[in-house]
Structures are given as C-alpha cells and as structure tokens.
C-alpha cells in the first residue's frame, strides 16, 4: 500500500463519516457545516485525482455558496429538525 492509497482511504473514511453524521444530525445548522467539511474533503480528493478545475469549483460552490444559501433558509425556517 503506497502513501497515496493511505491518503485516499483516509479521505474516503472522512467522507463516509461526515455523511453518516449529517444523516444523524438533528441540528440542521450543524448538518450544513458538516456538508461544508464533506465538500472540502471531496475537493482534496479531486486535486489528488488530477482534476484541479473540478476541485476549485467544488471548493467555492459546495463549501462556500451552498452553505450560505442553506443558512439564509435556516434563518427563516428554524434550525431544529423535528
């Protein structure tokens, strides 16, 4: 197993952990923040896969703008899931 594989495997584990945490989370604001973390991990993986274009877009869209849009919605609908 090369260091590259270890790196890949760690990121994949981080991704799955984040996704599971998002699924369990009752606090929607925390879920959105976790989704940002998830997006950043994904974009790390994509730089590693030789896709810098995609990684840049994902960093700006997934981690930045999506979170802002979600937060503005949460400000009006309440942050707790019933």
């Amino acid at each position: 197993m090369s260091p590259n594989d270890v790196f890949d495997a760690l990121i994949l584990i981080l991704l799955i952990t984040c996704a599971l945490a998002i699924a369990r989370m009752k606090d929607l604001a925390a879920a959105v923040i976790l989704f940002s973390v998830y997006s950043f991990a994904l974009c790390l993986l994509w730089v590693h896969r030789g896709a810098p274009d995609v990684a840049m877009t994902e960093a700006a869209v997934g981690a930045g703008i999506t979170a802002v849009l979600f937060f503005y919605t949460l400000a009006r609908t309440g942050r707790r899931e019933k």
């Binding site: 810098p52 274009d53 840049m56 877009t57 700006a60 869209v61 930045g64 703008i65 802002v68 849009l69 503005y72 919605t73 400000a75 009006r76 609908t77 309440g78």
Partner: protein
C-alpha cells in the same frame, strides 16, 4: 416501519450497485471506458483541434459546446424560476430577525482590503481559463462568492446599488445570448454550430468572450439566488 422499509430498499439498491460497480475496470486503469473512445481523440487532437491547451475548457467550449449551451440555459432558467417563485412582494413568513449585530471593524477592513485581490483572482481564472486550470464557471463562482461575501459584510443594499436593476435585466441573460451568437457565427463562418473560425487570434478572442459571458452569467445567477433567499426588501 417505514424507515425499515426505506432501509431495506436502500440496502438492496446499494447491493445491486456494488455488483454493477465491481464489473467495472478498477479506477485508474487506462482501459476504462472513459479513456478509450473520444477522450483519447480529444487528448491527441491537442491544442490545434481543441482551441485551448486546457483540455477541460476545450471540451466545454469547443467539442461539447452545445452541451454547455444547454447548461447555461439551465442555470438561466433556474435563476428565472428562483426570481419568480421567490418571496418578493408576497406575504412573508416571520423572519427570525437576529437583533442587528453591527459588522466588526476588523472584518470590515480586512474584507475591503482583500476584495480587490479576490476579484483579480476571479478575473484571472476567467481570462486564463483556456490555458491554466480555471475557466468561466470556476471564475464566475469565485466572483459570485466575492459579491455574496461583500453583501454579507457591507449589507445587501450596497450590492443592490452596485448592480442596478435595468442593467441586470440584460446582463443576467448574457451567457445564453453570447452562446447563441457564437453558435450562429460559427455556422456562418465555418459551416457548423460553434465552429471556431480559423485565425488563431480570433479563436482565442471567441473563447475568452465565451468564458467571460459564462463567468458573468454564473456570478450574477449566484447573486440572484442569494438575494432572493435573503430578500427582506426586494424591489
């Protein structure tokens, strides 16, 4: 009960997908389906046929320009739908207004300091997108993020004043318009839609124009999404 049923469905589906995925060649092997057909041709074609050294841009703006046109139209349609469905001028749900926290002077100063650099970087990504990683969408997204950041710090009203409505009306549609123009120009000059005409400088000019249009369109779409979600005093 319903959750258990959903879990069962998901597990069955995941099992089927696992079975399908295990038939694929392992990721990274050069004989995957993705690498064998047109991709090899695109890479061999190089800068001459593709029009841009960044092959992603070449695929987006030259080989698959029609697809990109469709996508640009999708984004524009989403923007129109958001603006139409948005709560502007309607009875709004009570917004849980946090008592106004004035912007910290530190944050305000730093954002003002950094904003020109971010804008420069976004422009660089758009204009150099056919050579280096980057391009219309990436740069446009960064530009949109910058505008959103500014409106978080300076207040949405300032941003609205920066983007006056009559100008916005046409600028929002710039990406589909420029794409349609390019398609027709290609048809007239070289015989097929989105053809890039011969002299190299003209090609590059067209590519940069397309990138700029995509970038501005994407940035304005993002700002439009943001403003209509944020809207308390939409005009």
């Amino acid at each position: 009960m319903r959750n258990a049923l959903a879990l069962l469905i998901v597990i069955v589906l995941a099992g089927l997908m696992m079975a399908g995925v295990s038939q694929l060649p392992p990721p990274g092997s050069p004989d995957g389906a993705v690498h064998r057909h047109v991709a090899a041709h695109y890479i061999d074609g190089g800068t001459e046929a593709g029009g841009a050294p960044n092959l992603v841009t070449a695929v987006l703006l030259n080989y698959r320009a029609l697809d990109t046109y469709g996508e640009v139209v999708v984004i524009f349609a989403a923007l129109v739908a958001v603006l139409a469905v948005g709560l502007s001028g309607h009875s709004r749900g009570p917004r849980r207004q946090p008592d106004e926290l004035p912007v910290s002077p530190v944050v305000d100063r730093i954002i003002r300091l950094l904003a020109p650099f971010i804008a420069l970087f976004a422009l660089f990504m758009i204009l150099e997108g056919h050579v280096l990683p980057g391009g219309g969408f990436q740069g446009g997204v960064v530009l949109g993020a910058l505008l959103i950041l500014l409106s978080l710090v300076l207040g949405p009203r300032r941003i609205r004043r920066m983007l006056p409505t009559p100008a916005l009306f046409w600028t929002r549609a710039i990406a589909p318009l420029v794409f349609a123009l390019t398609a027709i120009a290609g048809l007239a000059l070289a015989g097929w839609l989105f053809a890039l005409p011969e002299p190299a400088w003209l090609r590059e000019l067209i590519l940069v124009g397309l990138e700029l249009a995509i970038g501005i369109g994407a940035a304005l779409a993002l700002v439009g999404f943001y403003l209509s979600l944020e809207a308390d005093h939409h005009d």
